[in-house]
């Protein structure tokens, strides 16, 4: 089958993502930030590569806003199977992308073991669930940053889990 047209079970991707997070948090026990950075780097490479192909047939973007809209619509649909629900900007280089049902969080079942989550002081079940979910957002953060960087927008990307499975990504364009 020609590359680029085939399909596989979505659970392969879920299982790989879960294991990726688990394995790095195990290898780098007690250093969740370093583990997060490794996973982010993997997402970064994927984001870079994805946009090479995803923008192959389209005219060049005229400005940053066009690129951000492309991320929210086209790339989001390709990767997360829906579009971003809400896009906000302060018009000074910060964009907030809200997804009320983030695909990768809806796909995480409750039996996923906590990937070496540090015990947080606010140890309510909701806080714990958010912290666990947070470990799975390094990859999409890296993916978005890789995509934007390759499209000429160096930036930082961070994520916040609101009420599962809603989450938001904050993109800060580097001046």
């Amino acid at each position: 089958m020609p590359p680029g047209s085939r399909e596989i079970a979505e659970s392969c991707l879920d299982l790989l993502n879960i294991e990726l997070v688990r394995s790095y948090s195990e290898q780098l026990k007690g250093r969740p930030e370093l583990a997060g950075r490794r996973v982010e780097a993997i997402g970064f490479q994927v984001g870079q590569q994805l946009v090479e192909r995803a923008t192959k047939e389209r005219p060049r973007f005229a400005d940053h806003l066009e690129v951000i809209k492309f991320i929210c619509k086209d790339l989001w649909s390709d990767v997360f199977k829906k579009q971003v629900d809400n896009l906000k900007t302060n018009h000074r280089g910060t964009f907030v992308l809200q997804d009320t049902r983030f695909r990768w969080l809806t796909r995480l079942s409750s039996d996923v073991p906590p990937p070496g989550t540090p015990v947080s002081p606010s140890d309510t079940p909701a806080a714990r669930a958010s912290a666990e979910a947070g470990a799975y957002l390094y990859f999409p953060c890296g993916l978005i940053r890789g995509a934007l960087t390759n499209l000429g927008i160096p930036c930082t990307v961070s994520a916040e889990v609101n009420q599962l499975p809603a989450c938001s990504f904050t993109i800060k364009i580097k001046p």
């Binding site: 089958m1 590359p3 680029g4 085939r6 399909e7 596989i8 079970a9 979505e10 659970s11 392969c12 991707l13 299982l15 790989l16 993502n17 879960i18 294991e19 990726l20 688990r22 394995s23 290898q27 490794r38 780097a41 993997i42 997402g43 490479q45 994927v46 590569q49 994805l50 192909r53 390709d78 990767v79 199977k81």
Partner: protein, 185 residues
């Protein structure tokens, strides 16, 4: 009219699917990151195998829930179901089972179409890398959950110029189900 769906096709039709590209690129990026993390390429092979193992022990649940496969009588039947239903259901491809040993404890899965390696070209510096060793771990982990201890390795690799991917599986022992096998490390 087409003939009735084969079991693997039916299972594949039943699962949620995604474009393979995202998966293929993610796996590729994982391999490259591991090569950066580890100096020794053998450690990367082991790490991939171990990641596969952890995936395998989870993946078996979905397989049993969605494949509608009857319980296999022996290793021969199991190998057949892995090839025709398991691979098809998850990766959309069906290897052939071949090269059985006379005692029926060792066989090969052969495939020339492998979604893991789309776009991949192994650099000269990585000839020791067994790029697809995650598959070995997945098989080992999944089989262990159904009481079969196995040894799985890749013996032919198209990324290294072979004409086919050959995954060799050897049944070490079948663990009686009432005594769940515990891995003491």
């Amino acid at each position: 009219m087409k003939a009735a769906l084969r079991p693997g096709d039916a299972a594949f039709a039943n699962v949620e699917k995604v474009n393979a590209e995202l998966f293929t690129l993610t796996y590729g990026a994982v391999v490259r990151q591991l090569l950066t993390d580890h100096e020794d390429v053998d450690d990367v092979n082991k790490q991939l195998d171990s990641m596969g193992y952890n995936i395998g022990i989870r993946l078996i649940d979905e397989f049993l829930a969605k494949s509608n496969s009857a319980k296999c009588a022996d290793f021969r039947e199991t190998a057949d179901v892995i090839a025709k239903v398991g691979f098809k259901m998850f990766l959309g491809v069906s290897p052939t089972v071949a090269n059985w040993s006379p005692d029926g404890k060792e066989c090969s899965l052969l495939m020339d179409d492998n979604p893991l390696v789309d776009f991949v070209e192994l650099p000269d510096t990585c000839q020791g890398l067994s790029y697809c060793s995650i598959l070995c771990g997945v098989l080992r982990g999944a089989l262990e959950m159904i009481s079969m201890r196995t040894e799985v390795r890749i013996v032919k690799d198209m990324l290294k110029g072979d004409d086919v991917y050959e995954i060799r599986m050897r049944l070490i022992e079948t663990v009686p189900e009432e005594l769940p096998y515990k891995d003491d490390e």
